[in-house]
Amino acid sequence: MSENLKYGEPDKGSCQDSSTGKTADDGSPQMTEQTKEKVSKCFTQIIFYDWCKACGICIAFCPQQVFSRNEQGKPVVAQSDKCVGCGFCEIHCPDFAITIAERQPEPERQQGNS
């Protein structure tokens, strides 16, 4: 992660969701140095829809409400930048349909849906 990343100044190094245009620090006004460091890590959520059976475990238990439900009941990545990379959805997905990977901010940003 880029060390010279400043709070409130999203640049190439910040975790920014290209679909909504929201920055990582949205909605969390009081951030300490520690949380800033955490937010500056970006994660990508890869959902493999062919294997997903829409059980809803990932949507219900995500501590950051990263996923929202589509009309089939399957998760869609709504707030990718909020992901803290805890991996709960990945290890609790009974269908092996989610992968959380650390994202390098500089190269192309990958959207969650395949």
């Binding site: 890869i46 294997w51 829409a54 059980c55 809803g56 290890i91 609790h92 992968t99 990977a101």
Partner: protein, 276 residues
């Protein structure tokens, strides 16, 4: 699936042939399978050094999805087949995966005698508290008072505590986990597989299709929250009274003892006999 981040799963799963699996949406069996794969990866065991044997039931489908040496055996007899494999090829790491009905009802005798004999196997018992595949009949682990298709007015029998039974029967390593505590389960499975001697890992799993539907928990999320509420760690359970522990269960390592196991003793007998 793309990306090399899935390489651990890809190494061990028959992902190109058998997926998506047949289990219901949200079934705990998939979570246990994921945990097992991570535990094996952590131990660094090769695919050819492993045997996964199973009985009949939903859990019996598990060997279909993994790329080890696998064996899908008759109902309740996973441990007997596994005993045979272990005696013929002691170098192999033999894991059995059974359901609660498979292990404690149909294969109940095999289970307690494998524990008594202390043979070097790992038994993973997925306890979903019901016979899920056959239509929701009550099993030896269905809690008192809960409902099943053959207990429409509530179950009047009492449940087997599988882990405690294994401790009493003499297993070397006994642990209980839940599908909600999946990260903890990775560690328990790894310790169980590495242990010399009979190790039992009971996993409380959700069958919302057959058990939950009849007991006001008809989705996987509710059942997992139920496990989160009812699970008590071994340390905390020691401080709680019997009334508080009434409808709860302990999770963690219940027994970890070192004693002579069958494979070592059998080898000694062979050596002694050959000297004569």
């Amino acid at each position: 699936m793309s990306e090399k981040t899935n390489s651990v799963r890809h190494d061990y799963l028959r992902h190109d042939k058998k997926f998506p699996h047949v289990w219901c949406p949200g079934c705990g069996n998939g979570i246990v399978l994921g945990s097992l794969i991570r535990a094996i990866d952590k131990l660094g065991l090769g695919k050819d050094e492993l045997v996964l044997a199973s009985g009949i039931g939903c859990s019996g489908r598990m060997p279909v999805y993994v790329d080890f040496n696998t064996l899908h055996t008759t109902h309740g007899r996973a441990l007997t087949f596994a005993t045979g494999i272990k005696l013929a090829k002691p170098a192999l790491t033999v894991i059995t995966v059974m359901g609660d009905g498979d292990a404690t009802a149909i294969g109940g005798n095999h289970f307690i005698h494998a524990a008594r004999r202390n043979i070097d196997l790992t038994a993973i018992i997925i306890n979903n508290q019901i016979y899920g595949m056959t239509g929701g009949q009550y099993s030896p682990t269905t809690p008192y008072g809960s409902f099943a298709s053959t207990a429409a007015w509530g179950n009047i029998e009492h449940a087997f505590p599988i882990a405690e039974l294994a401790v009493t029967a003499g297993a070397s390593f006994v642990a209980r986990g839940t599908v909600y505590h999946a990260a903890m389960l990775d560690g328990l499975l790894a310790r169980g597989i590495a242990k010399k001697g009979f190790s039992v890992i009971e996993v409380m799993s959700n069958c919302h299709t057959q058990y939950g539907r009849r007991n006001q928990m008809n989705d996987p999320v509710t059942m997992m929250r139920h496990f989160k509420e009812k699970a008590v760690s071994v340390d905390r359970a020691a401080k709680m009274s019997a009334e508080e522990m009434n409808d709860r269960f302990t999770i963690g390592v219940l027994a970890d003892v070192d004693k002579p196991n069958y494979m070592e003793e059998y080898q000694k007998i062979r050596e002694r006999a050959q000297q004569h």
